[in-house]
Symmetry: C2
Subunit: 337 residues, 2 copies
C-alpha cells in the first residue's frame, strides 16, 4: 500500500515490478547508438499504413502486444492500460489500443507520458487495485511535424534548439513483485512549472525548470542526493535543456553532472544524424526506458535509477495566442530489488 514520504513523494513498499517491456522504433532510431536494443524496427516508417497517424497507432499496438507476450501474460490478465501520446485527442492510443479489450485510462503528459503511465500503473499495483497494468506511449516524427510545426513537404528550416521527434513506442507491464525484475520503488508527480519561455522550437528550455523542481522535491522528500543513484535519466531535454537543468540545479547546490544522461541525447548520434538539439517525443524516452534501461538494470549495470519524464504542455493554438510553455516532470525511482 502506497505511503507518503515527505511532501511530494509516494513510496511503494510492495515493490511493483516491470514484468515485461518492449520497444518499437523507426529507421533513423535504428541507425542511432541504441538501435540494437529495440525489439522491432521498421525501415518503412509508414508501417504499410496509409497515414502517419495510423502508423503511429500501429506502433503502440505492436509495443503493447510484445510487452504482454514477453511478460508471459494475456490481455485478460491486465486490469488497466494507461496510455497517451502527442496527437490531438490522443488518437494513437485510442486507435492503437481499441482492439485490446483492456480497461483504458487515457493520459496526457506530453513527453512525460511514459513516466506518468509507469507511475500510475505502479501505484495501482501497489494499492492492490490491479495485479497487472500496462503503460504505453508513442510518437512519430511525421505525424508530429505536420501537427505541431509544418507539413513535411514544406521543407521548413529547423532552428539549432529544435529537437527531433522520435518515431518510436515503448510499453511496460507492471505487476506484483517479481524476482529479477526492476521495481518501481517511489514516484514523485510533478507540478506545472512555467518560467515564461515562449519559443516552441526550444522545448528543452521550457521543460528544464520542471525537471529541476521535481528532482529537488524528490531529493528533499527522500533526504537523498544525486550520488545515491547510478543514473539520473531525463527524457527528453536534449542538449539545450540538459545544460539548463544542470545550471538550475547548481543554484540549489545539486550536482548531477557525474551520473546524468538524457534520452534526447542518447537516441541519435549528434555528430552524424543532424538532429540539432537531440531527440524528443513521448516515444523517445519510452523506447529507451523499455529497452536499453531495463535491460542494463537486469544486467546489473545500473542498480538504482531515477527516470524523470519531462513534458511541454503547450499546443500550436496556445503558442499562436502568445502563451508561454508550461512544463511538467514526473519522477519514477527504479531499482533492482
Amino acid at each position: 500500500m502506497p505511503r507518503r514520504q515527505g511532501t511530494y513523494t509516494l513510496f511503494l513498499p510492495s515493490e511493483p515490478s516491470i514484468v515485461g517491456y518492449a520497444a518499437v522504433a523507426g529507421k533513423k532510431e535504428k541507425e542511432g547508438p541504441l538501435g540494437d536494443y529495440f525489439d522491432l524496427c521498421y525501415q518503412d516508417t509508414t508501417l504499410g499504413e496509409d497515414s502517419w497517424e495510423k502508423a503511429e497507432a500501429r506502433m503502440q499496438t505492436e509495443a503493447v502486444n510484445m510487452a504482454i507476450k514477453k511478460a508471459g501474460l494475456s490481455n485478460a490478465s491486465i486490469q488497466y492500460i494507461f496510455a497517451g501520446d502527442l496527437l490531438n485527442q490522443c488518437i494513437s492510443s485510442s486507435f492503437g489500443l481499441r482492439g485490446l479489450g483492456i480497461p483504458f485510462l487515457g493520459q496526457y503528459g506530453a513527453c512525460s507520458t511514459m513516466a506518468q503511465t509507469i507511475a500510475l500503473s505502479a501505484i495501482l499495483v501497489d494499492a492492490g487495485a490491479a495485479a497487472y497494468c500496462a503503460a504505453v506511449t508513442s510518437s512519430h516524427f511525421c505525424s508530429a511535424e505536420r501537427q505541431f510545426r509544418f507539413p513535411l513537404e514544406y521543407g521548413g528550416q529547423r532552428t539549432p534548439t529544435a529537437q527531433w521527434t522520435a518515431t518510436a513506442s515503448g510499453s511496460a507491464i507492471l505487476g506484483t513483485h517479481k524476482r529479477g525484475a526492476p521495481v518501481v520503488s517511489a514516484v514523485t508527480i510533478g507540478k506545472i512549472t512555467d518560467l515564461g519561455i515562449k519559443d516552441a522550437a526550444n522545448m528543452g528550455a521550457a521543460m528544464a525548470p520542471s525537471a529541476a523542481q521535481t528532482l529537488t522535491d524528490f531529493f528533499t522528500d527522500t533526504k537523498t542526493a544525486p550520488e545515491d543513484y547510478d543514473l539520473i535519466l531525463t527524457g527528453d531535454l536534449g542538449s539545450v535543456g540538459t545544460a539548463l537543468l544542470k545550471e538550475l540545479l547548481q543554484k540549489e547546490h545539486i550536482d548531477i553532472s557525474r551520473n546524468h544522461n538524457d534520452c534526447g541525447n542518447m537516441i541519435y548520434d549528434a555528430k552524424k544524424q543532424d538532429v540539432h538539439a537531440g531527440g524528443s517525443g513521448c516515444g523517445c524516452s519510452a523506447s529507451i526506458v523499455c529497452s536499453y534501461l531495463f535491460q542494463k538494470m537486469k544486467e546489473g549495470i545500473f542498480h538504482s535509477v531515477l527516470f524523470l519524464g519531462t513534458g511541454a504542455l503547450m499546443s500550436p493554438t496556445s503558442s499562436q495566442q502568445g502563451e508561454s510553455i508550461p512544463g511538467i516532470a514526473h519522477l519514477v525511482h527504479l531499482r533492482m530489488a
Copy 2:
C-alpha cells in the same frame, strides 16, 4: 484499500468522499433547467479573456478554486489534481491549472473525463496515496466548434443528431471519509468499444455501445440490477444516444427506462433552446454532477447513483482519414453513506 469485485469493478471500502464541489457555466447553460444549481455563471462567455481557449481555461481555474474553498481546504492540502479537456493537448487544463502548485496528472477521456478523474481520485484516496485529490474538466461551445467542426463565423448548419457542446466546468474534491458527503463506493473503468459509427455529428450513437458495455459489466460484477439504484446518470449521450443505449441494454434484458437520465438531455430545455440532440462536452456532465447531482444526494433525493461518463475518442484527423469513432464509458458508483 481498493478490492477487486468481479472482472472489471473496483470496490473502495474506505468510502472516499466528495468533500467539496463546484460548477461554473455560461449564459445558455444558466438559461437551462439547471441554471440555478451552478455556483457561478458568466453572461459574457469570453470571461473577459481574449480567446475562447483562455476563457475555457479560466473556467477550470474558477471551478477548482471554488471547490477547494467549499471543502475548507487550501491548495497545499491536495496531493494530486486529475484534469483533462477536449482541446488539443488539453490546454484548458494545463493553462487553467498551472498556477495551483498541485501535482498534476493530465487525463484524456473526451466527455468521460469527469468520471475518469473522479474514479482515479477516489482510488488514490482509498489506497492511502493521497488525503485529498481534485478532479476537474471543462468544455466551451466556441473553442470546441472551431476545433472540431467549423469556425463560428461560417454559420454551419447542424444536423438533427448533433449535440451542443456545453460551456461549463465542474470540479470535485475527493477526500477520506466524511459524514454527510456523497461517497465513491465503486468504479468500473471501461474498455474502448467501436461498432463502426463514422458520423462525427452523431456522437451519441458512437458512445452508446461503450455505455451499454460498462453498465453490463458493472451489473455482472456486482450482481445488481438497475432497480437497485435511484438514478443511472449517463453523460452525455443526448437524445439519440439515450435511445440507442436503452435498445442495446434491452437486448441484454436490462431495463433502465424507469431511473435513467442523461446529462445531455438535462442541461438545456429541448423545446426552447434549439440544441438538437442535447448537450455534450466534458463540462456538461461535470457541471451537472458537481452541482445538481451532489446537492440532490445531500438532500436525500438520491441515495445510490451510477454516474457513467461517456467519451468519443476521435479527432477531426481520424475522421478525415475515414476512421470510425471509438467510444469509452467509465462508471462511478456514488452513494450517501
